[in-house]
């Protein structure tokens, strides 16, 4: 173990440059988000992730956000274990009817101010599962959503761009249009 740790001192880090925040995301947030109180949160975001029936593909790429290449924690973005500790609820999946209540309860357990980020194509409107007897059809059909990050699944870079846009809006204390 000591050898591995020692070696890391002499090798360049894997961590890559932060991507520019996504334009589409910034625009969506500009219209959805507007509250001067958010400036008080400072430059960090705590995220609670909820899988509302996804295929698990989005979860794999969300995990990748925490690896050495993307290193989302360097931006002050971290994943927390309880909705009580969260600023952001990150939701994947079309919202299966079996997960509807759990998602609602988790949303209500997140203290204000809070934002909801819907990850993936099926989180937007049910995606390829839309129309099934078992699916509600998009996170916004269950809880209000501030930001959608599309993809099947979205790449970690795409998610990072969306999250950085969210961070900018929060930090800038966006005013409602």
């Amino acid at each position: 173990m000591r050898k591995l740790l020692f070696q890391s001192l002499f090798r360049p880090p894997f961590t890559e440059q932060a991507p520019a925040p996504d334009d589409a995301a910034v625009n969506e947030l500009a219209s959805a988000v507007g509250n001067a109180a958010r400036r008080r949160l400072g430059r960090s975001l705590s995220i609670r992730e909820v899988d509302a029936g996804s295929c698990n593909g989005c979860e794999l790429e969300i995990h990748a956000l925490n690896n050495a290449y993307y290193d989302v924690e360097r931006f002050g973005i971290r994943f927390v274990a309880s909705p009580r500790h969260a600023d952001v609820l990150m939701v994947t999946g079309p919202v299966t009817k079996n997960m509807r209540e759990a998602l609602e309860r988790t949303y209500h357990a997140v203290p204000n101010p809070k934002w909801v980020v819907a990850i993936g194509d099926c989180a937007r409107d049910g995606g390829c599962f839309a129309g099934s007897y078992a699916v509600v059809g998009g996170v916004s059909a269950v809880v209000p959503v501030d930001l959608h990050i599309p993809g099947c699944p979205p790449t970690p870079t795409a998610m990072l761009q969306g999250l950085l846009a969210l961070l900018e809006r929060v930090d800038a204390g966006a005013v409602a249009p």
């Binding site: 173990m1 050898k3 591995l4 740790l5 894997f14 992730e49 909820v50 899988d51 509302a52 029936g53 996804s54 295929c55 698990n56 593909g57 989005c58 979860e59 794999l60 790429e61 969300i62 995990h63 990748a64 925490n66 690896n67 050495a68 290449y69 994943f79 274990a81 309880s82 999946g93 079309p94 299966t96 009817k97 079996n98 997960m99 509807r100 209540e101 759990a102 988790t106 390829c128 599962f129 129309g131 099934s132 007897y133 078992a134 699916v135 099947c152 699944p153 790449t155």
Partner: protein
């Protein structure tokens, strides 16, 4: 003693079913087959239904012969297999939830996938659903002094799929674990009915994200079996390459994640870097980090160019350079070994009874690997070993993955060496008569089974069976007498699919 072939001869053979036979049987033959499963002579590969019939796919453990028996259910019931053979219990509960077919004698009649949230009963069946009051889900009791219950989920503390775990504990020790799944049920088999092949293939690849390539592979092979379609050579080899890349990425991620669940984050950090290198190579070579939509009926949708080949070889070289030091670290960290050795032991007897596949079965003495036992091309021309251990603990499941990483590295090299030029995809014809096909492909967590009936380019019925159906119940067995804190370790060493099981 009758063989599987004898059983088939007794029934009425269904034409246009490929590659293994399917036969209609009567209730007596059905019960006889259930008995042979219970006696351990045969393994249950799957049990599924249609609105008016129920099917069982069976494998002879000794000869590896495979066959499907079907029973008509004009009265919406059939003799329960789960009554004699526990691996069928959840399958029969799910069949009732979706099709309204009752397994007579089923000891556990509680719903499995139906949480009373759909607004419709028996959604895929043809039975008229009478509105009835449903009582809350009853968890199984455990009696004793000083027992307490711990309820976990469906929302879990990490970035992970949802499911409910009800622990009964005595102090720190787990007395009973009961799972309740179904939270991610999306009704995929319902969406498949009537879908054209392109949509159906896309759905198949979205059943379980970490096995998207394995599912697409199994679905495509089932279509090709049904239509008697020959896949071009280059595509046959590229498909195996894609499947091995998926296996590699998952195993590397899991080895680190298991260590992470024992709080050894250094392994997780380094393994995540190696996993990321596989995903990037996959993206560069085939256009998608998780290899989604690359394997399609008829062949593959994306070619491998020289640049992609170079990047894959560089990725293999890097893993060969970095991986041994990580394994040495795993093996030499006493505090980590203390957590993983002798924890979550799965007995070989249970693995055999449930026909548990993947690293779970192979860490408990069950040597079945579809790539070897069923030898589908190109694996019949490739050199590889199937590692098997008998200890069945978390440590054994880590070591099987380590060995399979080594095998996958070698397999990818061999495939790149022998890849020939040629077309990527055969044209998929629309045939007027109904055709049935079945395929079994070794995904990273075990064998994925797909059965389907296709007519005129549309899916009439498609069954997608995740290996986790025969792994989830075993997790309840292995956690017994372990401490609660070891549950994440056992759970991650199993790494069953929620979405794959729930469908």
């Amino acid at each position: 003693m009758p063989s599987l072939i004898d059983l088939m001869l007794e029934g009425r053979k269904v034409p246009q079913h490929s590659p293994w036979p399917r036969a209609m049987v009567d209730a007596d033959l059905w019960k006889f087959a259930a008995g042979e499963l219970a006696r351990g002579r045969w393994s249950l590969l799957d049990q599924w239904a249609e609105p008016a019939s129920v099917h069982m796919a069976i494998m002879d453990g000794l000869t590896a012969e495979i066959a499907t028996v079907s029973l008509d259910c004009p009265d919406h019931n059939y003799p329960s297999v789960g009554l004699h053979h526990p691996p069928a219990l959840r399958l029969e509960r799910a069949i009732n939830d979706l099709f309204g077919l009752t397994a007579e004698g089923l000891p556990d009649a509680r719903p499995w996938l139906d949480h009373d949230c759909w607004g419709v009963g028996f959604p895929l069946g043809n039975r008229v659903y009478g509105l009835s009051k449903t009582s809350p889900y009853r968890f199984l009791p455990a009696e004793g002094d000083g027992l307490h219950q711990i309820a976990v989920g469906p929302v879990h503390a990490g970035i992970i799929e949802p499911g409910h775990f009800r622990f009964t504990a005595s102090g720190e020790t787990v007395v009973r674990l009961e799972q309740r799944l179904g939270y991610t049920h999306k009704g995929i088999e319902g969406l498949m009915m009537g879908a054209d092949l392109e949509r159906a293939a896309a759905l198949a690849g979205r059943v379980s994200g970490d096995s998207t390539a394995a599912y697409a592979y199994a679905f495509s092979k089932a279509v090709e079996a049904a239509l008697q379609l020959a896949v071009p050579d280059r595509a046959v080899w590229l498909r195996a390459l894609v499947a091995e890349l998926e296996r590699l990425a998952n195993h590397l991620g899991d080895i680190g994640a298991i260590c992470n669940d024992a709080s050894f984050t250094l392994m997780h950090a380094h393994c995540s870097v190696l996993r990321e290198s596989v995903l990037r190579a996959s993206h560069r070579a085939f256009g998608h980090r998780l290899l989604r939509d690359v394997i399609v009926p008829g062949g593959v949708s994306h070619d491998l160019d020289d640049e992609g080949t170079k990047i894959i070889r560089a990725m293999l070289g890097n893993i060969r350079l970095r991986f041994p030091a990580l394994i040495e670290l795993y093996d030499n960290t006493a505090s980590l070994q203390d957590r993983t050795v002798d924890t979550g032991v799965l007995t070989p007897a249970l693995a055999k009874q449930y026909a548990a596949g993947g690293y779970i079965g192979r860490a408990s003495g069950r040597s079945f690997d579809a790539r070897r036992t069923l030898a589908y091309p190109p694996y019949d021309s490739l050199r590889f070993e199937v590692p098997v251990l008998n200890e069945g603990d978390v440590n054994a499941r880590v070591w099987i993955r380590v060995r399979e990483v080594e095998q996958s590295l070698s397999l990818i090299d061999q495939i790149l060496d022998r890849l020939l030029q040629g077309p990527l995809r055969a044209k998929v014809e629309r045939l007027r008569e109904p055709r049935e096909g079945m395929a079994i492909v070794e995904g990273f967590r075990g064998d994925v089974l797909v059965w389907l009936r296709v007519q005129d380019g549309r899916i009439e019925r498609c069954r997608l069976r995740d290996p986790s159906w025969f792994q989830w119940p075993l997790l309840e067995a292995v956690i017994e007498n372990n401490i609660v804190a070891d549950f994440p370790l056992c759970n991650k060493s199993f790494n069953c699919s929620y979405s794959g099981q729930d469908l």
